[in-house]
Symmetry: C2
Subunit: 117 residues, 2 copies
DNA sequence: TTGATATATTCCTATATGGGTATATGATCT
DNA sequence: AGATCATATACCCATATAGGAATATATCAA
């Protein structure tokens, strides 16, 4: 088998840096394709192709406005990524380390108490 | 140009579901390759290859123990993903919507106040 | 040394990619 | 209708993939 399609899911779609860049720009509001072309410094067909991928995974929506097509962010498609990676936050966050200490203390105290009730 | 290598960064490495699965298992603690083989129901060479990718992006570390190689999670490599996607959390989170309301109210009150230094 | 176990590497192949370039489609203006 | 602007699609190509199968490497056992 070959690698999964970029359109297979948000993880694959967003693995490409240009597509993350596009989303980052769209986070600032609805934009026509040409704005993105200028913002990314990429050729127009390339941008259109990236937008197609993002559309297919539901990360952007489109709206026709005269001869322009206005793209808008749909962050909901990124939730699975967030949900997955959030579980690893404790791996690097000091705040979670501190939380671990607090919880350990609580547990110890509880045991010293004789368990209440 | 072709698609970026899976080893190019954590985004690409983690786009493959099997590799996320591996990390999920390793989140439960250090494991030899064969444990992962059983857990994923994948052939051993495939697992070794996925582990290589994860190693190259720094998402796992290895340690030799007799004839086994124990793999352990290094979640730090996933931080860039978390950092990026976190910025989009408000797109789907009701809590952020509520926060927006609160902030809007605060702002209105401030204006009514006359701004008082 | 021979054998068994644990893991990594090599070779194969179909497939999808991303950029480049040219062209098609569609809307607006003159 | 013809010209122009905005966007999408088609085609070409070098490249890296993921799994399958076979094999290499290393450690431990007898």
């Amino acid at each position: 088998m070959a690698r999964a399609a970029t359109t297979a899911d948000a993880f694959n779609a967003v693995a490409e840096p240009r597509r993350r860049q596009i989303l980052d720009v769209l986070a600032g509001g609805e934009r026509p394709v040409n704005d993105l072309v200028r913002a990314l410094g990429l050729a127009q067909p390339q941008v259109s192709k990236h937008l197609r991928v993002l559309r297919e995974v539901g990360a952007v929506d489109v709206r026709d406005e005269g001869r322009q097509r206005l793209y808008r962010l749909n962050g909901h498609a990124l939730k699975p990524i967030h949900d997955w990676v959030k579980g690893y936050e404790r791996s690097w966050s000091e705040r979670f380390d501190e939380l671990d200490v607090v919880l350990a203390n609580l547990k110890q105290k509880e045991q010293g108490d004789g368990g209440g009730k």
